[in-house]
């Protein structure tokens, strides 16, 4: 992980200054002041009327949420048999979606925690909504392990709670590790995100004119007054949280990959899975951040805060991780060949040339071939192209998980039990519904919470020399940035 990041850094020009300003593409457009930053960001929450675009977007998303609820209702009434799963392919869309969403949920923490620790100041404008996106992706991901249970009402058997039966979870099972990994990650992501929001919530509270807003944001701000003591405690806690969250970025997807790697299914049973999954997670996470950031900065006119520099850096991270993922694909097949195990070879051949060949070549195209355009600076500077590439990567990464889950299962040891899997209308409804849930939550987030960290931007303003005026709101600007 760290290696990649260094790699990413190394790709940047050596002339980069310590303050994170680069002549070609600044992280904050010139001319911004403390006030303009605060006004611009808080006004989205407080002053702008409901834009028809927002209403339409949210409406569509919410309709998909209703679809999700309906699909879940049917699922809980009738059973998981409404999906296309069978024996041997007992896991289908649900697990694919789970792994995909969890992967997407990696970008936020990576940006917030690891880039914070690595003092990558360009993260400032994107970390807030990346964190939110993480949280929402984890929420979507967290749905699926429960939905996919045959008897979801007993999901709590996974929790080690004292009970009269004296039965504990079976701790050798990767699903139990998974349960802990995902719930820990979800909790830490939520806390980290909320922690980061507190000074900004206070800002909004102070800007709010309506009583309801004042109360709601006031409660959420937890009595933040911006005193030096607050800021000192806050800074150290935030750093501690970042320290805590950092290993999680690596651990969650490693453990998710154990769900497969611990199994004996050919196509799953492989030691390369943890790093390959983590890289894939960051790959898809950054793709999702870009997918959201590019339209967002356009619609809300945030080009000054989310600059080409950000997009460029994220594209580079994507490219690097994409290469690691591609290495994973190559190694999987190479190892099957090198090991010579007939079932592994057979599985690899089937992956490429069997009945699921379109999925495999689609993922190769989406995840390996197309992202290579990001080597070009011009491609990285073209936001429309970047956006399309990020969308393609999202599709590719979903396909990759589909291939790992479904193709491996449908072609294992005994050919007599080989059967095809096809997603049913309910499989698709659940996938679409989870996309709807994700985007609905995002729409709510950008409307009701500051999508860019105000206080951190103000620090940037100070560092870039824009903060000549007096701090207009003492709550929103830390007196000093901590000495690391």
């Amino acid at each position: 992980m760290a290696a990649e990041m260094r790699h990413t850094n190394a790709a940047e020009p050596p002339a980069e200054s310590e303050r994170g300003i680069e002549p070609l593409a600044p992280v904050l457009a010139p001319g911004q002041t403390y006030a303009s930053v605060t006004d611009k960001i808080s006004s989205i929450v407080l002053e702008r009327p409901y834009h028809p675009g927002w209403l339409i977007g949210f409406g569509i998303s919410f309709a998909l949420v209703l679809l999700l609820l309906f699909a879940i209702g049917v699922l809980f009434t009738i059973g998981v048999g409404i999906w296309g799963i069978n024996i041997p392919v007992a896991w289908g869309f649900a697990i694919t979606n789970f792994v995909w969403w969890i992967g997407i949920g990696h970008a936020g923490t990576l940006i917030s925690a690891i880039l914070l620790l690595l003092r990558q100041r360009w993260r400032t404008s994107i970390n807030r909504f990346a964190e939110a996106m993480t949280l929402f992706a984890v929420a979507c991901a967290g749905l699926f392990p429960i939905l996919h249970l045959g008897r979801p009402q007993y999901f709590y058997y996974l929790i080690p709670y004292p009970n009269t039966m004296k039965v504990w979870p079976q701790f050798r099972s990767p699903l139990v590790w998974d349960f802990f990994a995902v719930s820990t990650y979800g909790t830490v992501s939520l806390l980290f995100w909320y922690m980061g929001l507190i000074p900004d919530l206070a800002s909004i509270r102070d800007h709010a004119r309506k009583r309801v807003s004042q109360i709601v944001y006031g409660v959420l701000a937890l009595g933040w007054r911006g005193s030096a003591v607050h800021w000192r405690n806050y800074e150290s806690t935030y750093l501690l949280m970042a320290g805590l969250a950092t290993p999680l970025v690596v651990s969650v997807h490693s453990i998710v990959s154990f769900d497969f790697a611990v199994g004996i299914v050919p196509g799953w049973h492989s030691t390369i899975f943890p790093p390959y999954f983590v890289a894939g997670a960051i790959f898809s996470g950054f793709a999702m951040v870009l997918t959201i950031a590019i339209p967002l900065r356009r619609f809300y006119g945030l080009q000054d805060f989310i600059t080409h520099r950000h997009l460029d850096n994220m594209a580079k991270v994507m490219l690097a991780n994409g290469l690691i993922v591609a290495y994973g694909y190559v190694m999987e097949n190479f190892m099957a060949w090198l090991g010579g195990d007939p079932t592994e070879v057979s599985s690899s051949m089937d992956r490429m040339f069997g009945r699921y060949w379109p999925a495999y070549w689609l993922l190769i195209a989406c995840n390996v071939l197309i992202p290579q355009v990001l080597w070009s600076r011009r491609a990285r500077a073209n936001t429309a192209l970047l956006w399309v590439v990020s969308l393609i990567i999202n599709v590719g990464m979903w396909t990759e998980r589909f291939v790992i889950v479904v193709q491996s299962l449908h072609h294992d040891f005994l050919p007599s039990e080989w059967k095809m899997y096809y997603g049913t209308i309910w499989d698709w409804a659940t996938l679409l519904g989870s996309l709807g849930l994700f985007s609905a939550l995002l729409f709510l987030f950008i409307r009701f919470l500051p999508m860019i960290s105000i206080y951190e931007l103000r620090e940037l303003v100070k560092e870039t020399g824009g903060g000549k005026q007096r701090p207009d709101l003492m709550s929103a600007t830390p007196p000093t940035r901590s000495k690391l």
Binding site: I78, I87, P88, L149, G150, Q170, F413, L414, M420
Partner: protein, 1024 residues
């Protein structure tokens, strides 16, 4: 009145609509609701009296249909005792003698099917039969069963069985029928029964036979017709020609060293199958012996379709039906005048095969056996007779016995005579007992239309388990008692007679055939038990009768334990004398070598087919037989042994023929013969003979019940009385497709060592050739098993792929039926499946069967990954499923390399149908949605035996526990036992050189191991 009527009609429409829509539980519930509506009750009350005029009234007729549906089901409500039993639990006030709640009891009985009978033991729990097992004392069973016998239990409890007497499609009652029959009887008595006809299937019941003969005595001009769609007409015709009298050949496979089967599927569909399978396999069982000295029989099979018998053959010769006779003739000729040198290379054509087989047969002499399937024309049967005679096999591997039928007839002629009489207006009263001619009579007779065309004043009565196609064309229908509800008797193929005793009071007030006939004999209130007992009292007069009766009931065999086989006694070699009549023909014609005419004195059949058309074979279905089991979900969902198709029949074609016709799997083709057309989906069957197609009978039912209706296509629509088994037809692609549900899509092993096989010669040369173990190293210590160590062996040499184990397991473990849609989604629930593997060229692959239950791995991959510990390892090595704990992650199934775990994707178990609740094994949980399940080694049987042993303070005896699959297996391919017990058979077999672990390289240490399949090909061909 009109106003009133309109209102009510609306209600009836609604009744009908709701009835049509309702299935299972709602069916009952909606009826209870409907029965409560005042309008319905009024209508019921007012309209119930029979009015012929109402029937012709269009509006009222519709009403009647509605009422009929409702009444049938209502009758079910009142007629079935279950709802009450389920609602109130009352302990016995007086404990019935010998009945301890919770302790199952065994009763001997027998099942009759298509002219054959099998002795059974029924396991009864609290007065309900819950499982059928073979009667070890019965020679036709020897403790095993076929899938049909196992599944007949479900037919007993089938909620779709006919539940009430009907008249003109309306509910009536027994008393009304009695009155009508008494009137008919009186009328016919005056004319000596001129217009009375009785139609039955093949009757093997001495009591029923005697009863019919009494009827014929009372009505001298009456006639008794028999029609069984899958019959032995050809065998009968040939033996009359050859022996001068009807005789049934009985084969002794134990004594046979070289066997040639001319399309005889003696392992699965031929009468006597269970015994034959056992004897055949006993003659080639190498696993128990030291393979080096083992002796195996050798089986040659010439057949058109692919049967399990063909799959078990050491050499299989695919032939078109039209080639069969010339092939048999060639073998016969070669037997008479041996060619100088039989071919040593792989024979290229049937003639070379014939020379080779003849040489092998001749070398075995009296220990050789040639058998022709009952579907083969008399010419082939005669050739088989002649060959056996020449070989000296008669009296050695083959005996001629009097047929076990009460009165053997030519079925085709018999039904034709009846149809002619009906058409000629000579039939005034027709009583159909158990047969379903409207569905399965030859198509050229147009039987259903003739039934409808009978004059309105004639009397037609159908007695059957279902209100089926024939019932629909008869005025009266009377529900028949299932054999598990009946007093009767039956004679097996070898002459062994068994009493059939009821295991449960008739669920739907069914009557036995004998009971119905008693009405004609003016004994309308006969007790069915008395009818049977009176018959036997007449056979065994004297004071010892009671003891005789009790012993016969208890043993399941009438008379001595050693059954008297009805072997035809004769002086000297029986057949040589009997064949004298045909031999001169051979002498006269003196066939020159190469001339096929007149070989063995059998005149050559004139039937020649045009080379362009396709030959069509009709065969009984390997699971639903002739259609009688169409409403039996266990058998419908039972994968056909070779194709693994479920719920459908198909037009089976060889790969080359399919290519020639340009059809692919599931593509619909139209078969046309004699102006009759039928469309069915194609299924390509490697190994099928080119230029012909096999269609299985029994599908395309229209009034089978909710399970069987509309499944498959009806091949009877093409089948005529003069060509019942094969005919020339044209095939036309329709361009449409119809999905088929198969449980196995892939029959090639993809290079894996899934099946290990060897020939006897290879084994003699390198005894350890199959015993290679290539294990990955393991860091984990092995478990220790200090008490019991349950294990199983499955002998692939012995497995004939008949599926008896699958149905036996299904009955024992309450395994649900999921339906065609779910099967095609890959969700069949069988805990044990029989994989069919094809090896070699698609024209004639070698087929291996491999039953796969849970392997009960010692290092089970499933146990490791279950997050909640719902599948755990027991101290005795069982891999146990804890249903209560299972949350349904399905991870265990993903990690099971054998894919033997089954998941309840939906609520598959029927927990509400009352009659099915009676059937379930109370010792096995009914699983709910979202729970994983799998083979448990019948843990309930282990525990039951353990408890019994502990109560008696003794160890569990060797072989005391039999799993359901092991118990059902006709060939004892499955052995189960405690591997810590030095006397355990399974333990001994695991030490055999043939023992191997499936996917042993994964180090799962499976407790179920296989014994490699050994074949005994002709040494002259080996390596070729």
């Amino acid at each position: 009145m009109d106003e009133n009527r309109r209102d009510i009609d609306v209600d009836v429409e609604e009744v009908r609509g709701r009835l049509e829509a309702a299935r299972g539980p709602e069916y009952w519930r909606s009826l209870e609701e409907l029965a409560g509506t005042p309008a319905f009750r009024e209508w019921l009350h007012r309209e119930f009296p029979r009015q012929a005029s109402v029937w012709t009234d269009e509006v009222s007729r519709r009403g009647f249909l509605g009422l009929m549906g409702a009444s049938l089901a209502l009758a079910g409500l009142s007629g079935c005792m279950t709802p009450k039993a389920a609602q109130k639990i009352v302990p016995y006030i007086e404990q019935p003698e010998k009945l301890t709640p919770g302790i199952p009891r065994l009763f001997a009985t027998a099942m009759e099917m298509g002219g054959d009978a099998i002795g059974l033991l029924a396991i009864s729990r609290e007065g309900r039969p819950i499982k059928l097992e073979g009667n070890p004392d019965h020679p036709s069973s020897r403790g095993a069963t076929d899938p049909f016998a196992q599944a007949s239990l479900l037919t007993l409890y089938d909620p779709d069985r006919s539940q009430t007497v009907t008249h003109m499609g309306r509910p009536a009652d027994w008393e009304e029928l009695l009155a009508a029959m008494t009137a008919v009887s009186a009328a016919q008595r005056t004319v000596a029964g001129t217009g009375l006809r009785i139609l039955t299937g093949t009757v093997t019941s001495p009591t029923l036979g005697a009863q019919i003969r009494r009827v014929l005595t009372a009505f001298p001009q009456a006639k008794w017709h028999q029609y069984e769609p899958v019959n032995r007409d050809n065998v009968r015709a040939a033996s009359i020609q050859a022996l001068g009298r009807d005789a049934q050949p009985l084969y002794d496979f134990m004594r046979a060293d070289v066997i040639l089967s001319l399309d005889a599927d003696f392992l699965l569909t031929m009468p006597g199958r269970v015994r034959y399978a056992r004897d055949f396999i006993d003659g080639r069982r190498v696993a128990e012996h030291d393979a080096v000295v083992a002796k195996m029989n050798r089986l040659y099979v010439a057949e058109s379709g692919v049967t399990v018998t063909g799959a078990k053959a050491d050499h299989r010769i695919p032939l078109r039906p039209s080639e069969m006779e010339s092939f048999a003739r060639a073998v016969s000729l070669a037997l008479e005048s041996p060619a100088s040198t039989p071919a040593t290379n792989k024979p290229a054509n049937p003639d070379q095969w014939a020379a080779l087989i003849a040489a092998d047969l001749r070398a075995s002499g009296p220990r050789a056996l040639v058998l022709a399937g009952p579907e083969q024309p008399p010419a082939v049967q005669l050739l088989a007779h002649a060959m056996n005679t020449r070989l000296g096999a008669v009296g050695s591997t083959l005996h001629y016995a009097a047929p076990n039928e009460e009165e053997a007839v030519d079925n085709a002629a018999s039904i034709r005579a009846l149809a002619d009489d009906m058409a000629a207006g000579r039939v005034q009263a027709l009583i159909i007992l158990g047969a379903n001619p409207a569905y399965n009579a030859p198509a050229d007779l147009d039987f259903a239309r003739k039934l409808d065309a009978l004059p309105p004043n004639s009397f037609t009565l159908h007695v059957g388990l279902y209100n089926d196609e024939t019932a629909n064309h008869c005025q009266w229908h009377c529900p028949e008692a299932h054999y598990l509800e009946s007093w009767s008797d039956t004679r097996a193929l070898d002459g062994t007679v068994s009493l059939i005793q009821p295991l449960i009071e008739s669920l739907y007030q069914g009557r036995t055939a004998a009971e119905v006939l008693a009405v004609l004999l003016s004994q309308p209130r006969s007790n069915p038990r008395d009818i049977v007992q009176d018959y036997w009292r007449a056979q065994h007069p004297g004071p010892g009768f009671d003891a005789f009766w009790r012993k016969s009931l208890r043993d399941g065999i009438v008379g001595a334990n050693k059954p008297p086989t009805n072997v035809i006694p004769s002086a000297g070699t029986p057949a040589s004398g009997l064949f004298a009549r045909t031999q001169p023909a051979a002498g006269r014609q003196q066939p020159a070598a190469g001339s096929q005419a007149g070989a063995a004195g059998v005149p050559q059949s004139a039937i020649r087919k045009p080379q362009s058309a396709i030959e069509l074979l009709f065969r009984p279905d390997p699971t639903i037989y002739d259609g009688r089991f169409a409403n039996n979900g266990w058998l419908q969902e039972l994968p056909k042994p070779i194709t693994k198709l479920t719920w459908d029949n198909a037009v089976l074609l060889s790969p080359a023929t399919a290519k020639q016709l340009g059809v692919v799997n599931e593509g619909m083709v139209e078969l046309e013969a004699g102006g009759r057309k039928v469309s069915g989906p194609v299924w390509i069957q490697p190994g099928h003979a080119d230029g012909c197609a096999t269609v299985h009978l029994g599908y395309g039912r229209t009034r089978a019940g909710r399970v069987g209706d509309g499944q498959g296509f009806n091949a009877y629509l093409l089948r005529t009385s003069d060509s019942p088994w094969s005919m020339v037809a044209t095939v036309r692609k329709t361009g449409r497709t119809q999905p088929l549900a198969t449980t196995q899509h892939q029959h090639a092993m993809e290079g894996g060592e899934i099946i290990r096989a060897a020939t006897l010669k290879e084994l003699r040369e390198r005894p350890d050739s199959v015993r290679k173990v290539d294990k990955h190293p393991s860091l984990l210590p092995n478990y220790r098993y200090d008490t019991h160590r349950w294990g199983m062996t499955i002998d692939l040499t012995a497995c004939v792929g008949c599926n008896a184990c699958v149905v036996g397991c299904q009955a024992e473990n309450n395994i649900p039926v999921v339906g065609k849609d779910q099967v095609s989604r890959g969700r069949a629930m069988h805990w044990i499946r029989v994989d069919a593997w094809y090896q070699g060229a698609p024209e004639d692959p070698r087929i291996h069967f491999q039953p796969v239950p849970c392997m009960q791995c010692e290092k089970a991959p499933c146990e490791l990954v279950c997050p909640v510990g719902a599948t755990v390892h027991s101290a005795e090595g069982l891999n146990e499923m804890v249903y209560n704990r299972c949350i349904g992650t399905r991870y265990c199934s993903n990690n099971c390399p054998y894919k033997v775990r089954r998941f309840n994707f939906l609520q598959f178990s029927d927990r509400t149908t009352p009659s099915l609740q009676l059937m379930y094994n109370p010792e096995v949980t009914l699983r709910t949605t979202g729970v994983m399940e799998k083979c448990t080694y019948c843990v309930q049987r282990i525990e039951k035996t353990r408890i019994a042993a502990e109560r008696e303070d003794r160890p569990i005896r060797t072989g005391e526990i039999q799993t359901a699959c092991q118990q059902a297996c006709p060939t004892r391919a499955i052995e189960f036992g405690d591997l810590n017990d030095p006397d355990c058979v399974a333990r001994r077999l695991k030490e055999s050189v043939l023992n191997y672990e499936l996917l042993g390289e994964l180090n799962t240490l499976p407790r179920t191991t296989y014994l490699a399949g050994v074949r005994n090909p002709n040494p002259a061909l080996e390596g070729a």
